[in-house]
């Protein structure tokens, strides 16, 4: 499946893009993390969360193909 992935803040700086489309054939968010870390090895040392359809999801959640975003620690306010 084609996944559209958004990157923010520190993570976007590291991937050098705000958004990209990746081919994904596995099942879970944990699998997606592995795919991302393989593409961007620096991610391994960074703290990030994954949102799917605008909700933070845990590693064992299933990737549904809805809007995915990779989010560094929040620093609003």
């Amino acid at each position: 499946m084609q996944l559209n992935i958004k990157y923010f803040g520190l993570i976007a700086e590291l991937t050098t893009c705000n958004e990209e489309t990746l081919e994904f054939s596995e099942a879970t968010i944990a699998d997606l993390k592995e795919v991302l870390v393989e593409k961007y090895p620096e991610l391994k040392t960074k703290d990030f969360q994954i949102a799917q359809n605008k909700e933070i999801v845990s590693s064992n959640a299933i990737v549904s193909g809805e809007e995915i975003a990779i989010l560094p620690p929040f620093s609003g306010g």
Binding site: F8, L10, A69, P73, S75, G77
Partner: protein, 147 residues
Amino acid sequence: MSDKKPKNVFVEGPITSEFIGNSIAKHQTKTSIGAHNIFLGQVRADDIEGKVVSAIDYTAYEDMANEKFHEIREATFDKFNLTCMHIYHSLGKVKVGEICLFVFVSSPRRKEVFKALEYVVEEIKAKAPVFGKEIFEDETHQWKENT
């Protein structure tokens, strides 16, 4: 009042003192209000290992953030007896001394506004996907993390 549709909480650049003054003025026709409580976040000239912050450049996952602000708003109206509530957050560059967050709660009674305002501000810090890049005077930067 509690609306059902997420509003856009973001404003481009700093939040001005005139904007805040006008917002206060608009609440003077609501004569059931007895207490207002306002929180303002201001950009600090932090000294980090010898480098001084000159501005914060804010970006956000706007769609998700507006949904989270909406959820925070709904939860706050459920928990506290408020007459109204407003949240504004800057996007883009906000210089030291300028205001980047404006939260405004109003109620007939003062006890409610104190509890409600702290709740809202802590929820925003924890749940809104907003990212602050601290820009130093020498143009280098680092990414801020809420504590």
